[in-house]
């Protein structure tokens, strides 16, 4: 059975490297979803989520999130910080961060170094159009709206939020007691791999 099911919409990836990784995963028949979950990682004193993290991919068969970064060093540092925070708050969440160098090496391994150069930084923002991605453009608006909805719902107060008296960091974010676990709010969006829902995947 092909991993690519006819008519399955592909998401509008924010970066060409994400589109390339999706193609690699499709090739090796590893199922994925794109930005399915948003993890709150910072709260105001009022309990509003002020910072969150949405890993790029979730691989359900491996129970693994994958985050790509091909950004400038300053932005990589920010992402590293968010990743550390996520791991502190959600220690059961398995996540792998692919740095620009990692991804470049991966493309080199697959003999696609020219593509690696195209994917660096801001020049990689636009997904190069390919025939197999045409359906992406048609579904792009819907996928973007769905993603926006995920972020929006993350602003509602989370159960178990800090109450008055909880220390607040200098930037105004609530400091979470490491012993106080946040329940993971999962927002499943219809941005799945062409392999479809678990019960549809043939082995």
């Amino acid at each position: 059975m092909h991993a690519l099911l006819p008519g399955t919409p592909r998401p509008a990836f924010a970066h060409a490297s994400e589109a390339e990784l999706a193609r690699i995963l499709d090739f090796y028949q590893v199922r994925w979803t794109y930005e399915p979950d948003t993890f709150p990682i910072g709260w105001s004193m009022q309990g509003e989520v002020v910072e969150s993290f949405s890993p790029d991919f979730y691989l359900p068969d491996l129970d693994l999130y994958v985050e790509l970064t091909t950004l400038r060093q300053k932005l990589v540092r920010k992402k590293n910080r968010k990743l550390r925070r996520l791991r502190e708050l959600y220690p059961d969440v398995r996540i792998k961060l692919f740095y620009a160098r990692d991804f470049r090496q991966l493309l080199l391994k697959f003999g696609r170094l020219a593509l690696a150069d195209e994917l660096s930084g801001t020049t990689g923002q636009a997904t190069p159009p390919r025939p197999a991605d045409l359906i992406v453009h048609e579904a792009g608006a819907n996928a973007g709206a769905a993603a926006a909805a995920v972020i929006k719902t993350a602003t509602v107060p989370v159960a178990g939020v800090p109450v008055a008296g909880v220390p607040v960091a200098g930037d105004g974010h609530a400091v979470v007691d490491p012993g106080h676990r946040r329940s993971r709010r999962r927002r499943r969006v219809a941005q799945t791999s062409p392999a479809g829902e678990p019960q549809q995947h043939a082995r």
């Binding site: 193609r23 090739f27 090796y28 590893v30 693994l64 792998k96 080199l108």
Partner: protein, 188 residues
């Protein structure tokens, strides 16, 4: 005509010498022979990179064993554009049902190829399936599959030699080396 000496000029650093590889392969052979004594062992080699490793390893296992070869398409090759999916380019020549199979790999990197192969081979009902790799590069691992026999764990560098290639070259080097970045930067 490019000669081996010219190929060696493209190597920035020898990571594993011919002697180190030979010594480790011999150790692995002894281990495997001890573990598989009295069993129906089939070594399955994944072409093309594992060819030298397979040839040396099997001669270090003094057991009655079978060998078989497989080849799987790699992302980025011609198979990518034609079908978009990994496929078996050369399948096993004999059944492995009820055999104790040892999958022999040259290198495990992301684990994507191995993941696919393990799923495929399990479908053929072997009595057991274990993994032996010469090189393990865990830095970019996506799929965690237990490796039963590991030659060397290596850092995140692009290595060639002893079966491993870049652009189908360098496989015949007797050692494992790190390719100079200028070689693959200029090559595209």
């Amino acid at each position: 005509m490019t000669r081996t000496a010219d190929l060696q000029a493209d190597i920035g650093e020898v990571l594993l010498s011919e002697e180190a590889i030979a010594a480790r392969v011999a150790e692995l052979g002894r281990q495997i022979a001890a573990d598989y004594a009295g069993r129906n062992l089939t070594l399955v080699s994944v072409l093309k990179g594992s060819l030298p490793f397979m040839a040396d390893l099997m001669r270090q296992i003094p057991l009655p064993l079978r060998i078989d070869l497989m080849e799987v398409s790699s992302y980025g090759g011609t198979a990518t554009e034609s079908s978009g999916l990994v496929r078996i380019m050369k399948d096993l020549s004999a059944s492995i049902a009820d055999e104790d199979v040892l999958l022999v790999e040259d290198i495990i990197d992301t684990g994507l190829t191995l993941n696919y192969l393990v799923r495929y081979l399990r479908g053929k009902s072997p009595a057991s399936l274990r993994i032996c790799t010469l090189l393990d590069k865990p830095a970019r691992r996506l799929v965690d599959i237990p490796v039963d026999y590991q030659g060397f764990e290596i850092p995140d560098q692009f290595v060639v030699g002893y079966g491993l290639d870049y652009g189908e070259r360098y496989r015949n080097l007797r050692f494992v080396g790190v390719l100079r970045p200028e070689v693959y930067s200029a090559g595209e």
